[in-house]
Amino acid sequence: MKYREGEPIRDTKAPEGPIEERWEKRKFAARLVNPANKRKLSVIVVGTGLAGGSAAATLGELGYQVTSFCYQDSPRRAHSIAAQGGINAAKNYRGDGDSIYRLFYDTVKGGDFRARESNVYRLAQVSVNIIDQAVAQGVPFAREYGGLLDTRSFGGAQVSRTFYARGQTGQQLLLGAYQALERQIAAGTVTMHARHEMLELIVSDGRARGVVVRDMVTGEIESHLADAVVLATGGYGNVFFLSTNAKGCNTTAIWRAHRKGALFANPCYTQIHPTCIPVSGEYQSKLTLMSESLRNDGRVWVPLRKGDTRPPAAIPDDERDYYLERIYPAFGNLVPRDIASRAAKNVCDEGRGVGPGGLGVYLDFADAITRLGREAVEEKYGNLFEMYERITGEDPYAQPMRIYPAVHYTMGGLWVDYDLQSTVPGLFVVGEANFSDHGANRLGASALMQGLADGYFVLPATIGDYLADARDFGPVNEVSVAEAEIAVRDRIHRLLSVDGDRTADSYHRELGKLMWDYCGMERTEASLTKALERIPELREEFWRKVKVSGTNEELNQALERAGRVADFFDLAELMCLDALHRTESCGGHFRAESQDADGEALRDDEHFAYVAAWEHAPEGPVLHREDLAYEYVTMSQRSYK
């Protein structure tokens, strides 16, 4: 796949000046819409996770007419619900030296100097308001006996700034946003369409003006129009088939927007989470995360000796290798995810992995149980332990957990400016679907923070500046609506008429395996070149041989899946191209050719301190670079030793 260089791109919305004042300045400069006019302005929000749910609720509260969509049967089920560990905020309630500046610093460093300083600073500022908002909504965060909020530590940080609700922080935060959303639905400001999947973006006279959706119960293809469109459709980790994402997570919404002109930034930045339950068989349909919070008290180890098949209890302490504590004494078991994942891969590659196929390492709670008592461990992690036991049939109180890295999060996404607006005017992107704040690696507990920052505080403040001109937008061009609808119908018709002999799932599995092997934890020029050969071949076969049963005019889950897989093929290709062009290693992107003497990721700031924003063009992708400048945090090689 060939690409060409295009013009550089720049964020024009972040104000100049001291970093602490930029967000205030931007909010002040953003034009306001008066309440009477807001009622006449309409916004479509696709997605009801933390980002979309909070955005739709807040826009509704402000008085806009909001239409909201999700593919599940209720907005409460967006995959944000599955987040276990917690949410960061620079509250410094512990007085342990935390501050907005430190959260900003940790996030820029954790992201391996590939995120924008202005955005990250704002995120750290807004983080404190999120906790206030959530508590006021009745989110039952963990508390101490004195009635104050409890916190814990997460990877990549030496302070305790992670707020949590047992192992169900995402669920509780999402229910807070969902309830706020339902309140607006009752108030008539938000119209909700559950079981509707967005399949196309409507761009009229250069502006995003609507979406084409499929009613997943009746198959009806509907167009919805508005003055602005917000995508909050989550991450695309399911391109790997096996990931910690929900089965329905997809790239379709952002991919369709990309095809309509939105640049796609850093598609290759993928986060592989170090603590997931290992794969148990061929039929496996998804992977389950064991929260990173477990690394607070669990110790990671493998046998010192290769091929040691003794049960864990029979291996004495001096024959175990607590490799994270050994290699990274400063952070120990709490090194950032990319580092912990690669370390696990390395010890397994050395033949010291445990469990079936040697693809696993131990996460051991024996010391914690001795130190804190079983009850305290149960209080903190009970539901995670139960989940582990349910899936594996093993009791983690009695023997160490087996864990292995799995695809978890995608830092890449649609390119947005400081206002969260994409390169298509009127198309805003929030949450995991955008690329904005995490650089090449996201720190634990920072995605919930970003989703809610975007939805409750940032987007509601910036979208008004765009909508202030809405009177001049004019009517939506009917041809653009008709074209978008025809594109959707054509694609559905094509999928249904192939009538081949392989299911969409089987192609998805094969694509996922290919991505894991060639564009996974470790990438090389050879592997990526190979992937770029194989993906088009497999896609061609897919369009020739896929079998989708049934019709469009019914609830048809085979059809839904096939449509998503088709878009994953195209995205996969762009991911590999992006990974191939970035010959440095950074964060979650590890190019084997670029490592230091200790095997750590080696950045190449001279050539790669930029965001790679890809444009879709018929003759092949066009690369636009956004240069990254660091005024506050000095670029340095990350060290967690």
Partner: protein, 245 residues
């Protein structure tokens, strides 16, 4: 192991449904129940048949999307477990397994095992929230919450809205679901100003949707994947009575 499945097939809301028999071979004990159905469906698709429609998403027991009545029990016999977290190691070779959708008038069948649970969303709309617009919140430490209250609120807040409680209840009551939200918010100082009105409007909506009354049979809590206790119903009744006086 090999299993015989008897599955409720219903093409659309208006068509009659029936139980249909299928055989699945070589089921691994490490598979989840839904993975077993995936295997069945892959076969059906290739044969040009309609795969069995069922709701699911997270497959880790938290989104509340999955749910079927397995051998007469909502989410199957394994305690405190959603269908997606049920594993085949709890079945044995030669078993006959019946699989049906949630059955309750307010949850009409859409297709096969998929039902419409939007009534639950409308119950939340009726008052399952704290009225606090974004940006209006005081500092989170302004009001300390006694740990006991926070824990009670949390226990009730773990409800995933799957609807198993309704499916299990002989009266088709949604009291466990509604009581859980009333208890969650009512236990916290932040939720207290609206405590009475919330109980009243939510219970009224529950009745309006056609859910039955609670006669304390306890079937709901027995199948609840999150083990929500019957106490939440007592609390709902108390709050409702107080609000109606």
């Amino acid at each position: 192991m090999n299993l015989t499945l008897k599955i409720w097939r219903q093409h659309s809301p208006d068509e009659p449904g029936q139980m249909v028999k299928y055989h699945v071979k070589d089921v691994s004990p490490d598979m989840s129940f839904l993975e077993m159905l995936d295997v069945l469906n892959e076969g059906l698709i290739l044969a040009g048949d309609d795969p069995v429609a069922f709701d699911h998403d997270c497959r880790e027991g938290i989104c509340g999307m999955c749910g079927m009545v397995i051998n007469g029990v909502a989410h199957g016999e394994q305690k405190a477990t959603t269908t997606c977290q049920l594993h085949m190691r709890h079945f044995k070779d030669g078993d006959v397994v019946t699989i049906e959708p949630w059955r309750a008038a307010p949850f009409p069948v859409i297709k096969d095992l998929v039902v419409d649970r939007s009534a639950f969303d409308r119950i939340i709309q009726a008052g399952g929230f704290v009225s606090v617009p974004a940006g209006a919140a005081p500092d989170a430490h302004a009001v300390p919450v006694p740990k006991g209250d926070a824990d009670d609120a949390f226990d009730a807040a773990t409800c995933i809205g799957c609807g198993a409680c309704v499916a299990a209840c002989p009266n088709g009551s949604a009291s466990l679901f509604t009581g859980a939200k009333i208890t969650h918010l009512g236990s916290l100082p932040q939720g207290r100003p609206e405590r009475a009105s919330r109980a009243k409007t939510m219970v009224e909506q529950m009745d309006l949707e056609g859910f039955g009354g609670c006669t304390n049979t306890g079937e709901c809590t027995a199948v609840c994947p999150k083990g929500i206790s019957l106490d939440v119903i007592a609390r709902m009744n108390a709050d409702f009575l107080k609000a109606s006086r």
